[in-house]
């Protein structure tokens, strides 16, 4: 038992020893690590925030001062001793050095001073500590503000490792393990043509409706480079259009992903225009703006009008990262029209009541009524460059004959109602009715070697409607009761007219007379398909009717349907007339 107890105690002891050694070992290892962390791999680095070492002349630029301990516990104090070529770059404020440093929150500026001139370099020793006791400095404790003073050149902003130092609370102040310097180049930058343009996204082009929201994308370009900032200074007529939100200007700009809105401000009032200066930069550090830079949201505030949204070239600017800010070579403006699109051609006229007309101005029919001259009539409903036309005083007289109606034979001949359809190549047409009045005059026409004396009928004082304004190249289509349609196109016409344009004319204030007697109207329209009245066509129905009513008679002077030759009897003569007409018609259409 005793031996066992001893053994147990021994084992316990060994365990205790082992535990003790273990604790000690771990503690020691931990201490070693801590010592290692605080004594090595601490650094101070400098770098340009743009990452672009190309600088333009007279360009301000900033250099963040980055410092930390490698274990991440942070620093209590920082002395940055940096040097630069003062003939190329300068601190922004060399008189009051503190103004050349932007401090991070929690960082306090202690002191800086120009130390020595080393190899033509100016050196500055700047000291920063934590504002709060035992608190740590931010990794980017400060930002140094420089400006270029040369147009060309290159150099280095260098940290002096030995003269810089880091402070860790409760420990010591020591030199950094490493420093990072910055080299730069000034000048030698070549940029191509640059521009800012306004475009329209309105679905109806640039024609806007009243109270319509519309968007205007802004694009900016410079040849050979991207852009990291754009200032668009645009103006518009506030009595016609407005930004959608004039209270919170930012709401009037849609910013595509990747671009960032910095601010907009109302500019000056230039010739009754409201102007805005809106600034945009890239969201991503060292990134580039993408087009569209922004989309400006407008809305119309009037029913009609037109104007221009203009970019001010001098007050707009483009920025190229690490380079410079410059005015664009060109700007593109956007014109717009508010109200319905053009509904008429400028200068055209349209008749209204009272023999007056309206004139089209700016694509819209005006409201001012203009009276036609007293001797002219407004052609109602028509758009034209001259709607006032000569009043319908032009009249038509003509003589005509009817096939089969002959002197001494046609005892039942009497006046015949005719329809007149006048047509001109310009599309005008008019239909009127008239009476062909039987006369005692005759027109002798040789048919198959035989002289036939046709009775001449007169049609007089035919007045077309006022809106039939054509006066030349008229063709006249005549249809008589029981007589098929004939086409008369020339004075003295004696055969079928085969042309396209008629040669008849009318003269204002006169009766123009034509002679169509040499080309008699064709007979044969007795009945229609369903009713025993003329239907305007000469066809086999008419022949069947004639056959069915052959030898039917009426007393002299009366009219008998189907008695085309007005002999007071339906006979073979009528059948022959009908066949002749049919042959005439079919010969024209079967070709």
């Amino acid at each position: 038992m005793k031996k066992n107890k001893i053994k147990i105690k021994i084992i316990l002891g060994i365990f205790l020893l082992a535990a003790t050694f273990g604790v000690v070992f771990l503690a020691k290892q931990n201490q070693d690590n801590r010592n290692k962390a605080t004594s090595s791999s601490n650094y101070i680095n400098l770098y340009l925030d743009s990452g672009n070492k190309e600088l333009a002349s007279n360009q301000n630029f900033t250099v963040p001062l980055l410092a930390n301990s490698s274990d991440g516990t942070g620093l209590d104090s920082l002395v940055a001793y940096f040097c630069y070529n003062p003939t190329q770059i300068q601190l922004e404020d060399t008189t009051n050095l503190q103004n050349s440093f932007s401090l991070a929150n929690g960082t306090s500026y202690i002191d800086s001073s120009i130390k020595v001139n080393e190899a033509n370099n100016k050196c500055v020793e700047a000291t920063f500590v934590s504002v709060v006791k035992n608190a740590k400095l931010a990794t980017q404790a400060a930002t140094i503000k420089f400006k270029t003073v040369a147009t060309t050149g290159s150099g280095v902003i260098s940290l002096n490792k030995e003269k810089s130092s880091l402070g860790v609370a409760g420990k010591t102040v020591f030199a950094p393990d490493s420093v990072g310097n910055l080299s730069y180049t000034i000048g030698g930058i070549s940029l191509g043509a640059s521009s800012i343009n306004l475009n329209s996204q309105d679905p109806n082009g640039k024609t806007l409706a009243s109270n319509q929201s519309f968007t205007v994308p802004v694009s900016a370009n410079v040849t050979g480079s991207g852009l990291d900032s754009v200032v668009a200074y645009f103006c518009y007529n506030p009595t016609q259009i407005r930004l959608e939100d004039t209270t919170n200007l930012q709401n009037s700009f849609t910013i595509p992903s990747g671009n960032s809105y910095i601010g907009a401000s109302i500019g000056v009032n230039e010739t009754n225009n409201k102007c805005f200066k809106a600034t945009f930069v890239s969201v991503v550090k060292n990134g580039r703006l993408s087009n569209p830079i922004t989309i400006i949201k407008f809305k119309t505030v009037v029913a009609t009008g037109s104007g221009v949204i203009s970019l001010n070239k001098e007050k707009s600017s483009l920025g190229v990262a690490g380079k410079t800010v410059f005015a664009p070579d060109s700007v593109g403006n956007l014109s717009y029209t508010i109200g319905v699109g053009p509904t008429c051609t400028n200068g055209n006229q349209k008749c209204v009541s009272g023999n007056k007309y309206l004139t089209c101005v700016n694509g819209q029919l005006g409201t001012t009524q203009t009276a036609c001259p007293s001797n002219k009539t407004c052609t109602v409903g028509e758009y034209s460059t001259d709607v006032c036309v000569n009043s319908g005083t032009a009249k038509l007289d003509f003589d005509m004959t009817f096939k089969g109606i002959k002197k001494d034979v046609s005892k039942c001949a009497s006046n015949i109602e005719v329809k007149l359809f006048a047509q001109s190549p310009d599309g005008n047409s008019n239909e009127v009715t008239a009476t062909a009045v039987k006369t005692d005059r005759i027109k002798t026409i040789k048919v198959a070697g035989e002289d036939i004396n046709y009775i001449i009928y007169e049609v007089r004082n035919v007045a077309f409607d006022a809106d039939f304004v054509s006066r030349d190249n008229i063709t006249l289509y005549v249809t008589g009761y029981e007589y098929g349609q004939m086409e008369y196109a020339a004075d003295g016409q004696s055969e079928f007219f085969d042309g396209v344009t008629g040669d008849l004319s009318l003269t204002d204030g006169q009766n123009t007379k034509y002679d169509f007697t040499a080309y008699p109207m064709l007979a044969g329209d007795a009945v229609g398909e369903d009713e025993d009245v003329p239907d305007g066509k000469i066809d086999s129905n008419d022949f069947a009717y004639i056959k069915a009513n052959l030898d039917k008679t009426v007393p002299d002077g009366q009219h008998l349907l189907g008695d085309f030759d007005r002999t007071c009897k339906i006979n073979s003569g009528d059948s022959t007339l009908l066949k002749y007409s049919l042959i005439e018609r079919l010969s024209k259409i079967v070709n």
């Binding site: 086999s540 069947a544 009717y545 056959k547 069915a548 049919l582 079919l586 259409i589 070709n591």
Partner: protein, 206 residues
């Protein structure tokens, strides 16, 4: 024993269910057939497409094309005849024949109206319009008499195919053109008589 009792109960129940299902299945199948049949009939029935029932008159005349062959060669000339078969005794005052063809496929020529018919008032081939026209207006008081079942040659013309393909000759009606309406008028009543006609389908090869 108890299992047997259950089986005795289940077997009839299942049998009943199967019978009911069979009945329902057969019933559904027969319903399906009933739906399909009228649809086929409707699709194929021109009468059923009309909203209002139409009284179809029996044709009084048949117009029949005739030719020696339906296989024709390009450049060769073939004779085509049109015959008229009367379904009943008729007396006609007007006989208008209009035959339409495609003038790009063939040339029509040498139109003659049968000499036994009354003299044609007008007969012509419209080479541009593609119409063979013959209009016979019968002067005779009693009209042109044609007996039941009598086949009368009407007109004859030549066709000369111009292109390989198929063409057809058919009678033009009011459905085609108001100007070229084939019609027959009864001499006594002036009524237009209904007629039927066939198409002459020709294959053209080189």
């Amino acid at each position: 024993m108890q299992n047997n009792k259950i089986m005795k109960f289940l077997i009839p129940v299942i049998a009943v269910i199967i019978i009911i299902e069979s009945v329902i299945l057969v019933n559904n199948l027969s319903k399906k057939n009933k739906v399909v049949e009228p649809i086929k009939v409707e699709e194929n029935s021109s009468a059923s497409q009309s909203a209002t029932p139409q009284i179809v008159e029996e044709p009084a005349l048949d117009l029949v094309f005739a030719t020696d062959t339906k296989e024709m060669k390009i450049g060769k000339t073939y004779s085509v005849e049109l015959n008229m078969l009367s379904k009943e005794d008729n007396s006609l005052s007007v006989m208008n024949f209009y035959i339409k063809y495609d003038p790009t496929l063939l040339t029509a020529s040498s139109l003659t109206v049968d000499s036994k018919l009354p003299k044609a008032t007008f007969n012509k081939i419209g080479e541009q319009t593609g119409i063979v026209a013959a209009s016979i207006l019968v002067d005779a008081k009693d009209g042109y008499k044609i007996n039941k079942d009598k086949n009368v040659p009407v007109l004859r013309f030549n066709v000369t195919p111009k292109k390989v393909g198929a063409f057809k000759l058919e009678i033009a009606s009011s459905n085609d053109s108001k100007d070229f309406v084939t019609l027959f008028t009864d001499n006594a009543t002036r009524k237009v008589l209904p007629f039927s006609s066939n198409e002459l389908n020709i294959n053209i090869s080189k």
